[in-house]
């Protein structure tokens, strides 16, 4: 066993070598793992040396100090209060001016709040509308229009309105169901041509993209918080935290054979908000 001073010296020597090594590694172009290790040794050496030094050579005591009680010092407190009140009395005599000063500060404070409004645009109806319009074609993310035949049973296709592939509130998923099992809701009978059915891809729980599809059970999964939507029941949530069905996009096939939107979504897409029922 080395004497403590020897061990401390050793730790410091290691630290010095590691620091030199670090400069060399850096000069040679850097290497993440080596840098980490050398930094560990360089810093750790100093740590070991300081703590070892304190442990072996420095007075540990224990020493004792009294803890002066500052809880109950009525004298000092009263003095402070008196000093404050003496000044406040002089000020308070100008009763009218004190009021005006308060009013001026309050008015300035209120005026200073207004720039907060500059931070963002007015919500208006922006949560209720997307970029889908009547007759607008469905295109893939790279802008390719889609024919009904392009939608293959069992796969999930993400589409956008033509010319708006960066409109993230408009992202929509297409799935094709065997024609015989499609049971459209009343009023939606002509929304799913050839068994192709379109839902908003934005989860109604916290807004993640609903990106997973199980073709056997015809269920859509949100990978963020595991909400499950049943495509056979108009994307009604059947498990997990989501509460609202994924809004369905009415679509049809146009004369050129391309899929187009019949209209925008009929309800707000994405997560709920306070006034969603009025939107």
């Amino acid at each position: 066993m080395r004497p403590p001073s020897g061990r401390i010296g050793c730790a410091l020597t290691l630290s010095i070598f590691a620091s030199i090594g670090l400069t060399i590694v850096y000069a040679l172009g850097g290497q993440t793992q080596l840098e980490g290790l050398l930094l560990f040794v360089a810093l750790g050496g100093i740590a070991v040396a300081l703590v070892g030094w304190a442990h072996n050579f420095l007075p540990k005591g224990p020493f004792e100090q009294s803890r002066e009680e500052r809880m109950a010092k009525p004298v000092a407190e009263t003095e402070a209060e008196e000093s404050f009140e003496a000044g406040a009395d002089v000020v308070g005599r100008r009763y009218f001016l004190v009021r005006m000063l308060g009013l001026a500060v309050a008015a300035l404070g209120a005026a200073a709040v207004f720039p907060v409004r500059s931070l963002g645009t007015r919500p208006g109806r922006s949560l209720s509308v997307t970029s889908w319009r009547t007759g607008r074609r469905l295109v893939t993310e790279d802008g390719r229009p889609i024919k009904a035949a392009d939608v293959i049973e069992g796969t999930l296709l993400t589409v956008f309105p033509e010319g708006h592939t960066d409109a993230m509130d408009s992202q929509t998923i297409l799935v094709r169901l065997p024609q015989q099992i499609v049971k459209p809701l009343p009023g939606r009978e002509d929304w799913s041509p050839d068994g192709i059915i379109a839902f908003s891809k934005v989860c109604t729980h916290a807004g993640c993209p609903v990106g997973l599809y199980n073709e056997e059970s015809h269920r859509l999964f949100c990978p963020c918080h595991q909400s499950v939507f049943d495509v056979l029941k108009a994307a009604k949530p059947i498990a997990g935290p989501a509460n609202r069905a994924l809004p369905q996009l009415p679509i049809r096939v146009d004369t050129g054979g391309y899929l187009v939107a019949r209209s925008d979504f009929h309800e707000p897409i994405g997560p709920s908000f306070w006034s969603i029922d009025h939107a």
């Binding site: 980490g36 930094l39 703590v51 304190a54 009680e69 990978p223 963020c224 509460n243 029922d277 009025h278």
Partner: protein
């Protein structure tokens, strides 16, 4: 030379009395008193490494095609922010070690604060006169969690981008003002082009400045009130026993700083963290699966996952589902944390000053409540991995979710009762350590 300088300063500022007092100041010695220091020193590591990172990071969401040295991303549309993070990881010398050390130090920082908070709670160090410091500490935890979140959101990668999307939905869920709140903070409808630059200013300036100010206040108050100490021979309410600041405590503490720094750099150099080039750039129509946030967001993530699909409509107005787990839960959590010193004083009727710490067994109810509360958050944390558990054990994720709903409600009371029994047994049979406690003492009860 140094002596001359000291005298010169003293002539002008009259500092020598303060310095003399300070150097002789006594700090009680216990390993558990170092937890807060670990938080402090990891904050220093964060400032040092973070400053380096700001020299290379571009807080902008302008999109362009990637042409850097990382081949798998060639031709991919990325934002300036993402691009700059990939570049600082691969093209800036020592960039990756700095970035990973920064991320690890953030995890250590928040972990140290949480463990420190537990120490303060279980030893009763929050009691009068230390309520102010407790509240400053809770505020620092809140700011630390916010800055952890804002920090990992900056690279605009697929994993964190999804987190930012969820944050938008959470803001949107606030009753009455939610829509405006989300639009003002993000600058408009989602996705926003200004959120990264806004988070950046908060992350590198406002929050660190606030943290630094609060650390200053936290330490100044400790300085003024003097540190608490455990009960022991020669230790009384009216004294402090331990080594002096100079030189012993200073050597140990600065040694600890180097130790914390060393561990952070070793983690940063050797263990990969947040490899954003593997996640890919953020694209709102894509998502990684499975997706887990950093550990300190785990309790909120778990709560979002297991909260039932409850969404009340009241007179035509809606309280969105995410409001309950993501706004109400953290709101109540932090309100209770802030109020705890006052709640306990009120319930126990003990309003007096305390400088000697409690042993956890001396306060079975407080200890049991603390343990139960902790187990509640641990269950929420674990629930955030329901997708991974489902995959690993090949069980439907719904079953795991239901199991966790049960565990979150069922485990805390059991833990509370068990801990209460153990503490009572420790008090009654008085073995020095928990490990020396005979099993019968716990099973028999009072």
């Amino acid at each position: 030379m140094l002596r001359k300088l000291a005298r010169w300063i003293d002539d002008r500022l009259g500092t020598s009395r303060f310095v003399e007092e300070s150097l002789n100041k006594i700090f009680p010695d216990h390993w558990a008193f170092l937890l807060g220091e670990i938080a402090l020193y990891s904050f220093v590591v964060l400032v040092l490494t973070g400053t380096f990172l700001t020299f290379f990071f571009t807080p902008s969401l302008t999109q362009h095609i990637y042409h850097g040295t990382y081949a798998p991303l060639h031709g991919v549309k990325v934002s300036d922010a993402y691009n700059s993070v990939v570049n600082l990881s691969f093209q800036v010398r020592a960039g990756l070690v700095m970035r990973q050390t920064h991320h690890w130090a953030a995890l250590v920082f928040i972990a140290a604060m949480v463990v420190h908070l537990c120490r303060i709670y279980f030893t009763g160090a929050f009691r009068r006169p230390r309520e102010i410091n407790w509240m400053i500490g809770v505020t620092m935890l809140l700011l630390g969690i916010f800055n952890g979140f804002s920090g990992y959101s900056l690279p605009d990668d697929l994993l964190s981008g999804t987190g930012v999307r969820i944050m938008y939905s959470v803001l949107l869920s606030v009753p009455i003002v939610g829509t405006w709140l989300a639009f003002l903070i993000f600058g408009g409808d989602y996705p926003s082009t200004s959120i990264v630059s806004r988070l950046f200013v908060l992350h590198v300036m406002i929050v660190p400045a606030a943290l630094a100010a609060m650390i200053g206040a936290h330490l100044a108050i400790i300085w003024r009130q003097k540190h608490t100490q455990f009960r022991g021979p020669g230790k009384r309410e009216d004294n402090v026993v331990g080594p002096r600041l100079w030189p012993t405590y200073a050597f140990n503490s600065i040694g600890l700083f180097f130790g914390v720094f060393a561990v952070c750099t070793a983690l940063g150099g050797l263990i990969q963290i947040n490899p954003v080039w593997l996640y890919g750039p953020y694209n709102p129509s894509q998502v990684t699966s499975p997706a887990q946030p950093d550990w300190f967001m785990g309790w909120l993530e778990g709560a979002l996952r297991i909260f039932p699909n409850f969404e009340p409509h009241i007179f035509g107005w809606v309280i969105p589902n995410v409001f309950f787990p993501a706004v109400l839960l953290p709101g109540v959590t932090f309100m209770l944390l802030y109020a705890w010193p006052f709640i306990e004083a009120k319930v126990s009727g003990d309003y007096g000053p305390h400088h000697l710490l409690d042993d956890a067994r001396d306060r079975p109810v407080r200890t049991a409540l603390g343990a139960a509360t902790l187990s509640f958050y641990v269950m929420l944390f674990l629930a955030a991995s329901n997708d991974i558990l489902a995959k690993s054990f090949n069980v439907p994720v719904g079953n795991i979710t239901w199991t966790f709903r049960g565990l979150v409600l069922g485990v805390p009371p059991l833990v509370g009762l068990f801990v209460h029994r153990v503490m009572r047994a420790l008090q009654r049979d008085d073995p020095r350590r928990f490990t020396e406690l005979p099993l019968e003492a716990v099973t028999e009860g009072d």
